[in-house]
């Protein structure tokens, strides 16, 4: 057996000083040589534990071997057999806790860079043959119609899978562009919108009809969809409603929810104001509250809009931060300042209602709570004031209630998530399935995709039943 190569091929990134001033993609991807070098490290072990670690069960050793063999069309075929959105997943999946964690070389501290290879294959396809439906032969139509509500990661996967199985699929999206959180939430520098739209176009090329500007729950209800001829519905509307802390001063001017800030910047392209009509206010000293990926995205967007200082304010310590390690490192490299074990008590406003400061507590950590992380506890008397002129609250999101409010028999939890079977995604309402953040609360792109895949399988069984 050949000697193990434990040197992970690094991926080139834009220099932190340069990238802090532009919205271009930070990570630049592998060259063909780099991709082959990394692919050659894979020992093609028989366990395929990486595939088990993948929520959508990609034949990872298979596509890596094809890269090594210089058979790129085959690599694309293997990847797209299980994943309709590889350019997206290669960029935003937390591989370090999924496939790469399961890799046989992970124990040696050098798992194969599966995510980077996935991205390489997807980018090769897009630039060389165009990311459209490679299959000339369309599936046999089943004559069944499915409505997929929401065009984020879950909706796109459910729609693609169901279309590949021969069902007639209509994808309903509330916003003016398809992609959901991939368009409004994740910034351009982490996930270029051109890539999202190329993968949306691929889903459309499978025969999926996309209807934009369609707010289900308002312009049409689930019952009306079912009455109008749809045989089944998949709900993938995500967790799009922002949460606030409910502390004094939260409605001051200059305080955004992360959803609003990111939507203005990413979806509405406020970073190109006044070329684009949507404005965004950018302060000199910005505080982002929260420790997740959305907080990192918000902080890094603010930096790129030309602020002087950007702080991350997080109530626990760095080890408890839910953000991906890589994104925390990227943020630090770019000069984002971390104020850990710190939590806002109230916001201080000027006479004209603009935020001028945050009164914060210093926090200590107590016993672990139900999440397994140590509970943050405010230290009485530790209050101090941080001068800021803009705040982004990245405190998590919950499902939007518009659909549940207009569907009496769709059971929801007290957190507003839809009750659905863990494995099939079937809800309590006849002929309606759900998957992704609408069921689990805010989670990852790939877990939403996995849930959508399982639901699509169950919907297919039902429709053929």
């Amino acid at each position: 057996m050949a000697k193990l190569n434990l040197n992970r091929e690094p991926m080139t990134k834009q220099d932190p000083k340069t990238r802090g001033k532009n919205f271009n993609e930070v990570a630049l991807g592998y060259s063909a040589e780099q991709a082959k070098a990394e692919a050659s490290r894979c020992i093609q072990c028989p366990k395929h534990s990486c595939t088990d670690g993948c929520p959508v069960e990609i034949d990872i050793p298979g596509f890596i071997k094809a890269v090594l063999d210089d058979n790129m069309p085959e690599a694309v075929r293997i990847l797209k057999d299980k994943n309709s959105l590889p350019g997206i997943c290669g960029r935003v999946c937390p591989q370090e806790t999924q496939c790469e964690q399961a890799c046989s070389l992970a124990k040696k501290g050098a798992p194969i860079a599966i995510g980077r290879l996935e991205r390489y294959v997807a980018d090769w396809e897009r630039t060389n043959i165009g990311a459209l439906n490679p299959k000339a032969e369309p599936p046999r139509p089943t004559g069944k119609q499915v409505a997929v509500v929401g065009s984020g990661p879950a909706g796109l996967v459910a729609a693609a899978d169901l279309a590949k199985l021969g069902h007639s699929v209509t994808l309903l999206e509330a916003l003016h562009v398809a992609g959901g959180v991939l368009m409004y939430g994740i910034p351009e520098f982490r996930l270029p919108k051109e890539i999202v739209q190329a993968e949306v176009a691929y889903v459309a090329s499978l025969g999926v009809k996309i209807e934009l500007d369609s707010v289900v729950g308002k312009v049409v209800t689930l019952d009306e969809l079912l009455e109008s001829g749809y045989h089944a519905i998949f709900l993938g509307t995500g967790a799009g409603a922002p949460m606030f802390m409910d502390i004094p001063g939260e409605n001051l001017n200059g305080i955004y929810s992360a959803n609003e800030f990111l939507t203005r910047v990413n979806l509405m392209k406020a970073y190109q104001f006044p070329e684009y009509d949507t404005p965004v206010f950018v302060g000199r000293r910005v505080a982002v509250i929260g420790g997740g990926n959305v907080a990192m995205d918000s902080a890094r967007c603010a930096l790129r809009l030309g602020t002087d200082e950007v702080y991350i304010i997080y109530r626990r310590s760095e080890v408890e931060m839910p953000a991906r390690r890589e994104e925390v490192e990227n943020a630090k490299e770019e000069g984002i300042q971390f104020k850990l074990l710190t939590n806002p008590k109230r916001y201080i406003g000027s006479e004209s209602n603009w935020v001028v400061g945050i009164e914060c507590y210093e926090m200590g950590l107590g016993e672990p709570d139900e999440s397994g992380r140590r509970r943050p506890i405010a230290k009485e008397g530790s209050e101090f004031i941080l001068d800021v002129d803009m705040v982004v609250a990245a405190l998590g999101t919950r499902p939007n209630p518009l659909i549940a409010q207009t569907t009496s028999d769709l059971k929801t939890t007290k957190w507003g998530t839809v009750v659905a079977d863990d494995t099939t995604g079937k809800t309590m309402k006849d002929r309606v399935w759900a998957g992704g953040d609408i069921v689990t609360g805010a989670a990852t792109v790939i877990s939403a995709m996995g849930a959508a895949r399982r639901a699509a399988r169950d919907i297919d069984e039902y429709l053929r039943g």
Binding site: V215, P242, F244, N251, P279
Partner: protein, 279 residues
């Protein structure tokens, strides 16, 4: 894409657009709004439904040219298209048999209040309307509002038409009169709604206002439109736009309406320069 069926000018810089949007026309109810985006570069802005026709598949909007988007909108012609037209959004106005309802409209609020007054009349209420504008050239739909009202009082700030003064004066007189008013609906600029609510407060008459904060998506996703009502934060897009005027934090609303004053001015001027100044 949504086609502009027809358009007309109702007053100085006040325009009416009839737009083809059958799905929205079928579902629309009084008090709801749409979010529009003119084209790829455009921002998303909310506009209250002034009228709709399910059979024809049309929705009518009335707007005042006040910023970049409404300026650009006013340049469009019948047959042109608007990229995005989303709705019907918001909670419909509460329509019930209340008894006597005073409908008070200020400026472009006349367009928003007319379908509500009509729905209230159909429910058996007696409608007394007060229609106000700064000047005669900004008054419109007097006839429409009169047709659903038992009585209509018109005011202009400068006295160029109707009674000289602001709407709160006849409103106060009405409340002091023999007439028992069971409910007041006030729609117009936030300052006008604020003073209407202040006027009715001592009389203890429930006063509903339709709030007009800045919005982005209009579906509860961003929280830009948050308002404080009775000390509780609400999203006007999904919890409103109608709220109890006596509970609204008006200072907060007007402060939040000013967030982008500088940017709005810059964008407006840029578009005016680009498209050529119109008289």
């Amino acid at each position: 894409m949504f086609r502009i069926i027809s358009r007309e000018t109702l007053g100085t810089k006040i325009h009416l657009f009839k737009i083809e949007a059958p799905a929205i026309a079928r579902k629309a109810l009084a008090g709801q709004f749409v979010v529009i985006r003119i084209d790829e570069r455009g921002e998303r802005i909310p506009l209250t439904l002034a009228d709709w026709n399910g059979k024809e598949g049309s929705v009518t909007l009335v707007f005042l040219e006040a910023g970049a988007t409404t300026f650009r909108l006013a340049l469009l012609k019948a047959g042109d298209f608007i990229a995005d037209f989303v709705g019907p959004l918001g909670v419909p106005s509460h329509i019930d048999k209340f008894g006597t309802v005073a409908c008070v409209a200020g400026g472009v609020g006349a367009a928003s209040i007319t379908p509500i007054a009509k729905a209230l009349k159909e429910k058996g209420n007696k409608i007394i309307s007060i229609l106000g504008a700064r000047s005669k050239d900004l008054l419109f739909w007097e006839d429409k509002l009169r047709s659903v009202s038992q009585r209509l009082i018109v005011t202009t700030d400068d006295g160029t038409y109707g009674r000289k003064g602001v709407v709160t004066e006849p409103l106060k007189e009405l409340l002091e009169s023999e007439e028992k008013v069971d409910r007041v609906i006030a729609i117009g600029p936030s300052i006008m709604m604020k003073f209407c609510a202040q006027t009715t407060l001592p009389f203890g008459v429930k006063t509903i206002v339709s709030l007009n904060p800045i919005m982005v998506d209009g579906t509860g996703m961003c929280g830009c439109c948050r308002v404080s009502v009775g000390g509780v934060t609400k999203f006007a897009c999904v919890d409103g736009p109608d709220f109890d005027g006596h509970q609204v934090d008006w200072d907060l609303l007007s402060a939040r309406l000013r967030i982008y004053l500088d940017e709005e001015k810059r964008s407006f001027e840029q578009w005016q320069a680009r498209m050529g100044k119109r008289s």
